[in-house]
């Protein structure tokens, strides 16, 4: 009996741990966004998609927004036709939670250039992708296959001063993948604050 309980827990655990894995199809999602619309992954078929896990109060997110690094990346790649989705999986009452109105305001204040800010307070999208930290970055190709999952860059310091010296995995991956070249590193260990899912 014990073994059975254990087994079922284990199975449940492994389902909950389903992730967006490079080389595999990206998990489908359908969720509302700050713009009041509903966004589905399938509507972006044929386009490159970047998913950026986001929490406005996390120091590591601030590292990249405060230094304008994230906005620059968003601008560069949305300019090349990439769909950039910032995803907020903070549950209600947790750090970084916003309603739609506040999300719009924050996006405006920080001069975000994201295509949309997805609101995921239930954590359904975040858990489907296995988003562990903010930021945690995923890149999906036009066929819907995950080509990258991991950190935004190679320096896990919270000091914005190190950004210039860091290797940005999102831009190197997008540059290579969009040019039809092989992706150097398809998965890295993400760094940052833990994603603030509901308990």
């Amino acid at each position: 009996m014990k073994a059975l309980v254990f087994l079922s827990l284990f199975v449940a655990g492994s389902i909950a741990m389903a992730e967006a894995v490079p080389g595999k199809p990206a998990p489908a999602f359908e969720t509302s966004a700050a713009d009041g619309k509903t966004h589905k992954l399938s509507e972006y078929a044929g386009k490159w998609v970047v998913m950026e896990w986001y929490n406005k109060d996390c120091p590591y997110v601030k590292k990249h927004y405060g230094s304008n690094n994230m906005q620059e990346l968003q601008k560069t790649y949305t300019g090349k036709g990439v769909v950039w989705l910032s995803v907020n999986s903070s549950a209600k009452g947790k750090e970084g939670y916003t309603d739609a109105a506040e999300a719009v305001k924050v996006a405006k204040d920080t001069k975000s250039n994201a295509t949309a800010v997805l609101l995921d307070p239930t954590g359904v999208v975040g858990k489907a992708y296995g988003a562990k930290t903010t930021p945690h970055m995923f890149i999906i190709d036009p066929k819907g296959t995950v080509v990258y999952a991991g950190a935004i860059d190679d320096n896990n310091s919270s000091d914005p001063g190190v950004i210039v010296k860091s290797k940005n995995y999102v831009s190197t991956t997008l540059d290579a993948a969009m040019a039809g070249k092989k992706v150097e590193m398809a998965a890295t260990k993400p760094y940052g604050c833990g994603t603030k899912y509901a308990n």
Partner: protein, 689 residues
């Protein structure tokens, strides 16, 4: 964070010359665990202590699912500080994540030595750039500067009892250096899990923490007993590939040990995603007839070039001198004997090499120079030859008459000698050929050794046999004596160099041992010059006793040094000791890596090091391009390095490896030529930009 800044401003205002010695920041208090007075003579261990608010935590070196480890950057000061030593972490669940870190209090420890650093006479003054992240569910990063000033004293460090007690408590939790009470082995590695078997040698089984979070998830492993051993099953993150080895921290109670698990075998069998895929293909083909022929040719060419290397040239010149006056028939006989000496020696060395190889020993070319006995023997031999050349002594027909004189035994032994002294000079072409010999079956391997010997001996034979070539040689005359005397100096130079090698192998005691031997030998020959029979006997006794005693002393000296750390040639600035895990990590980050496989007894290596690698120009190129420069020192037997060389089908030094920036194009390591130039180093980077 604001408080830290304002506190810093406040403190630096009050004490303009000093950063604070303790820091109060949100949810942490940071202070030193340091002695009141620090010993100038013996190294000590200090700590940087964190007192953490309840429910908050900071991180271990692998932070787990989120978070970040503290970063320590000792900036300036008259001290040398070792790497951070991390106490045992715990698994801290935060929501659905697992972090590895510390609650309530911890301290990170550093070995500090004020010893031989300029300015060590004054007080200890050091500044640490400290960065940390403290989290509950939300996180607060901190960056600050913290300083430490203490007087230095000649005796032992003076500690406040309470502080020392805390230091000792945290120090006892850092990984131990002795052998761990269990063996770890890889059972299985798939895309989802990593299974490790633990065989407990004594006591109970450990808790295991993955040291590299890139490849193994921090969650507690599933533990199962399978027969005698215990299996730990870790979940692994998807798609991150495999390193060649993984390190774990094994913890039992308050004690911990760091251990590696070799994944190389599995990584290779999986074929894809291996971090370092070396040029295996060349060894696959090496059985081909065509490539065997080209390897033999390489060995032959390498042998010819060897004649010009600084190790062999003096011996060869002496041999040339000795044949100038002889008749052509005698000359031919001499040269053939010389060649026979070379080939026999190569045959014997080759057989010993293959024998050891089949017995499973990890050895490589130059192995004969990894023995201090051989080095001591060569020191003695070169010293005697040098004295002889300087006409200090007439050896007559004694057995010492190795190189110069005209007799069959002499020519044969010159050949033997040439091979021995040639070992340190791996020239162009040789590396590839000898490397292949290490992996080939016995017969072709011996063929390569002999082909090398043929190349080494053939120029001398040709000059002796072909009159028109011989005519190019200068005519004999009084200059020959002058030249002979002159050649004593390169020989003494060789003695000095070999002394240095022995010093590295055996420490300064080895150097003292050899110098004393040379002194006594010189004394005994001086004594031997007198007419008195008694004194002559004394001279012989002194010589024999000193030789016997010094060789017998080698193992004792060796033993005393093996307990203390052997100082090697790796400690020059910027170069770090060979560590495969570090290479993998740098590669994973896309950082360029340069590896210098070297040995003190390898002259080619030392020349490259002094003339190229350690010049300002090269250092600057490495720094500008953020290259991880690493040195693998093979002066003493080291199976890890032998294995690393074997991956690139080499078993001799020097080997220079370069991995370019970025990660994909560089799965292949680039092997540089054995003789380096600055422009080669510069070109490594120019091409890419």
């Amino acid at each position: 964070m604001k408080t830290v800044v304002s506190l810093l401003v406040f403190v630096s205002f009050c004490f303009p010359a000093l950063a604070a010695e303790s820091i109060k920041a949100p949810h942490v208090n940071i202070s030193w665990l340091a002695p009141e007075k620090l010993s100038r003579i013996s190294p000590d261990t200090i700590g940087i202590k964190f007192n953490i608010d309840p429910e908050w935590h900071i991180y271990w070196k692998n932070s787990g699912d989120s978070g970040a480890p503290p970063k320590f950057n000792f900036k300036s000061g008259n001290y040398t500080v070792g790497p951070a030593q991390w106490p045992i972490p715990k698994r801290i669940s935060v929501g659905h994540l697992v972090n590895l870190g510390y609650e309530r209090e911890t301290a990170f420890l550093f070995q500090i030595a004020a010893g031989d650093v300029p300015g060590a006479n004054s007080d200890l003054n050091l500044t640490l750039d400290l960065e940390w992240l403290v989290c509950k569910e939300e996180c607060i990063p901190g960056i600050t500067e913290i300083s430490l000033s203490r007087p230095l004293i000649d005796g032992d460090s003076v500690w406040a009892t309470a502080i020392k007690k805390q230091r000792d408590h945290f120090a006892s939790q850092t990984p131990r250096a002795d052998e761990s009470p269990w063996d770890l082995k890889l059972v299985e590695k798939t895309d989802e899990k990593l299974v490790v078997s633990v065989e407990v040698k004594s006591g109970s089984s450990p808790d295991l923490f993955p040291i590299d979070g890139e490849y193994v998830n921090p969650q507690s492993p599933k533990v199962e007993n399978v027969g005698e051993e215990t299996q730990y099953s870790f979940s692994v993150p998807a798609g991150r590939g495999s390193p060649s080895k993984l390190s774990f921290l094994g913890v039992r109670g308050d004690e911990s040990w760091e251990q590696d698990i070799d994944l190389a075998a599995v990584v290779n069998s999986i074929a894809s995603g291996s971090a370092i895929s070396s040029s295996r293909s060349s060894s696959d083909n090496s059985a081909d007839q065509a490539s065997l022929v080209s390897l033999l040719l390489f060995a032959f060419l390498g042998g010819i070039i060897l004649n010009l290397m600084p190790c062999v040239l003096p011996v060869l010149s002496i041999k040339f001198l000795s044949i100038l006056k002889t008749s052509i028939a005698e000359r031919r006989k001499e040269s053939l004997l010389y060649l026979a000496g070379i080939l026999t020696t190569f045959f014997i060395l080759g057989s010993v090499f293959l024998g050891l190889r089949s017995a499973g020993a990890a050895i490589g070319w130059g192995f004969q120079l990894q023995s201090p006995y051989i080095i001591l023997f060569l020191i003695l031999l070169f010293w005697l030859m040098a004295l002889n050349f300087l006409d200090v002594f007439e050896f007559g027909d004694s057995i010492m008459n190795v190189a110069g004189n005209m007799n069959s035994a002499g020519s044969f032994s010159t050949g033997v000698l040439a091979v021995f002294v040639a070992a340190p000079c791996t020239g162009p072409f040789m590396g590839t050929a000898l490397g292949a010999a290490a992996t080939l079956p016995a017969a072709p391997a011996l063929g390569i050794f002999l082909s090398l010997g043929l190349g080494l001996g053939i120029p001398f034979v040709l000059v002796s046999f072909i009159p028109s070539l011989f005519k190019l040689m200068p005519k004999p005359g009084a200059w020959m004596d002058r030249l002979k005397q002159f050649l004593a100096f390169p020989l003494i130079g060789t003695v000095i160099w070999l002394m240095w090698v022995l010093g590295i192998q055996l420490g300064s005691d080895g150097w003292l041992l050899a110098c004393t031997l040379l002194l006594l030998i010189a004394l005994s020959f001086w004594l031997g010059k007198t007419a008195s029979r008694v004194v002559k006997v004394v001279a012989i006794v002194v010589a024999l006793v000193s030789i016997g005693a010094s060789f017998m002393a080698v193992p004792k000296v060796q033993k005393s040094i093996s307990t203390s750390a052997v100082t090697t040639t790796t400690n020059s600035s910027g170069w770090v000791k060979y560590d495969r895990a570090q290479i993998d990590q740098a590669r994973a980050r896309g950082q360029a890596v340069f590896v210098d496989f070297t040995a003190a007894w390898c002259i080619t290596c030392q020349l490259n090091k002094k003339a190229v690698l350690e010049t300002r120009a090269a250092q600057k190129v490495f720094q500008d391009n953020d290259v991880l420069v690493m040195r693998a020192d093979w002066t003493n037997q080291d199976p890890v390095i032998t294995k690393a060389l074997a991956e690139f089908n080499r078993n001799s030094v020097p080997v220079y490896l370069f991995y370019g920036k970025g990660t994909s194009k560089s799965a292949e390591a680039q092997i540089l030529p054995q003789i380096l130039t600055i422009s080669m180093i510069e070109n490594l980077f120019n091409k890419k930009e």
